[in-house]
Point group: C2
Chain length 360, copies 2
């Protein structure tokens, strides 16, 4: 099968271009069952669009595919000619150090998948495997856009309104004020391109509304964000997140360091089921709860692009189900189609030029 590189990347908002999406078939706690099933579900959705490149131990993947096609997918209209197999014998374990991909396992599905994109043979990469290794390999192979010192992982937080983007959510534990501003820029392009939000508003996570509230880094970041040329709405507090808005209005992007973001994310993931269980114990019926939980479902997001690298690297949750993988593949297609990575580069270059102009 001949694979064509998308012609309209970066300009085709709305009309999805053909994308060649590499999926780390070995990545995640439930691989390869969930990854293969997720690929088949996405193929059903995609119809005649997009190609999915299954990267990993080819024999294992083909065996799993045959099993599912004879089982849960028997009789379904899945165009398997849109699946491609790329053998990658090494497997990166969840417990491996982040640098293992680059230093020790060059034939892993991660390195192979990312290198294919760098070489022009693929358009996007999706993995539910070792996040640290995926980040390190993505930075090493794609490089960061100029003006960035770190990439960031955005997370979509369900709210009473619409989901908001919280970043960083774990990639960077100790951050400078300048890095929080970088996260804001990255989050805005992500919100525009992948979520379709126009002129996204930015909030800085802190412990009070006033600029002078916060720790040393957030106080400094507040001043920098106010002068960053973004739609900055000031500080937001923990209580504003479930509403998706502060007293000054709705917020689309919330920046914080990856330590706080990760603690909050994991807390949120766990607190919703806990409260639902309390309510179930009190006697609510399963239908009622299922309706409410849909809004709190993380699997509906699927995955997030690693922001800042010159390429498309989608990070999915290690516990991803088939449905989460399917949704991550959709995120990959959209991230590629909108040309988000190129937009980030353009936006950063434009800002650098503005600052150059202001200085001279």
């Amino acid at each position: 099968m001949r694979l064509l590189r998308g012609q309209t990347a970066g300009s085709g908002k709305g009309s999805l271009t053909l994308a060649r999406i590499a999926l780390d078939a070995m990545g995640g706690d439930r691989a390869p069952a969930a990854t293969v099933a997720g690929a088949l579900l996405a193929l059903e959705d995609f119809g005649s669009k997009h190609v999915i490149q299954l990267i990993g131990r080819e024999q294992v993947i083909r065996a799993e595919l045959a099993r599912q096609l004879a089982g849960e997918f028997a009789g379904k209209a899945v165009d398997v000619s849109r699946l491609q197999f790329v053998d990658a014998p090494d497997v990166i374990e969840m417990s491996d150090k982040p640098t293992v991909a680059i230093r020790g396992k060059p034939k892993s599905s991660m390195v192979v998948g990312l290198r294919m994109q760098a070489d022009g043979a693929s358009d996007a990469f999706v993995s539910a495997g070792n996040t640290g290794a995926q980040m390190a390999a993505s930075i090493f192979i794609f490089r960061l856009h100029d003006g960035l010192t770190r990439p960031a992982i955005p997370t979509l937080f369900p709210t009473a309104r619409i989901p908001i983007v919280v970043l960083d959510s774990g990639a960077n534990v100790d951050c400078s004020a300048d890095e929080l501003v970088q996260f804001a820029r990255l989050g805005c392009v992500y919100a525009e391109d992948v979520l379709g939000r126009a002129n996204p508003s930015v909030g800085l996570l802190s412990i009070g509304e006033e600029p002078e509230k916060g720790n040393a880094v957030t106080k400094e970041a507040h001043a920098l964000l106010a002068a960053a040329g973004l739609n900055f709405q000031g500080n937001v507090e923990g209580r504003d997140l479930p509403m998706g808005a502060s007293e000054r209005g709705p917020v689309d992007v919330v920046v914080c360091d990856g330590f706080v973001g990760n603690v909050m994310l994991k807390f949120y993931e766990a607190v919703a089921p806990m409260i639902v269980k309390l309510i179930a114990d009190a006697g609510a019926g399963p239908d009622v709860l299922a309706g409410a939980m849909k809004k709190l479902d993380y699997a509906s997001t699927g995955g997030a692009p690693l922001l800042g690298v010159r390429g498309v690297s989608i990070i999915a949750h290690g516990k991803s189900s088939a449905n989460a993988i399917r949704n991550a593949l959709h995120v990959a297609a959209r991230t590629f189609d909108t040309g988000m990575s190129a937009h980030i580069g353009q936006r950063l270059a434009q800002r650098a030029a503005e600052q150059q102009g202001a200085l001279s």
Copy 2:
């Protein structure tokens, strides 16, 4: 009325001693209505025990009291002879800077109430007013126990199990590793004395189970906590909080810096009603939800002692209802009765002696 200083403070666990509890009648968003009503509710509970000292603008307080005794408390068995009035004409506003109490408003209810305790005329102080001012005034008037550089505010987090103590929850935004260890010591004595937990287990809030996960401060704190002579259970993650346990078992005390703690606390306060609203929208009846919400109700805690100062200073939520004030008065009685502050001093002195011994 002659007020006797409690005879058995610090030794009378279980059998409550007479306590003279000063209440900042002007403090909080709903004062003086909520504070006066809270005092009357607590008096009903206390029976012939304890005296409540209403501190603030005496005329305003007496007028509010007369109104309530003729209204919602008409015909109830409240022994108003156990109320004492102490005039304090200055009022600290929520927007005042923390140092205002000490520098600018010496006749405020806060300063008057705390000074009475320092002078031996009161046993405990409760306020729902400006938390920063209460902290600053408590440190200034009571001083910290030896071995501490900061006080901490503990918060009780409802969990699927029993509530856990999270500290610091806002008093200290930038913390050293050594200060996190101080918080652990303070939280343990609080958990023992006020919550009645034997040999409380301590977790360090981080972003992974492994000691090497976390930001710079938590990684250093992990090593210090492991050698601190506490029942340290290692790192806990955001997902462990709603369970009140990590994979290694139940946790009673979770330490973190005040920035993370405050963000989490406010997030938790807001996320529970949001989820309950989602479930109500999906069709759950009010009785079902009320049953579940009881476990998530912050008002049932009422207030937390400011940990580390040589005295009893109970911090209540600015939005405290009458019931929250009532419960804060109970916390005050228990904190005084168990001699928690003295225990903290003893524990710290004992630890200092051990370390002295280890060095010599």
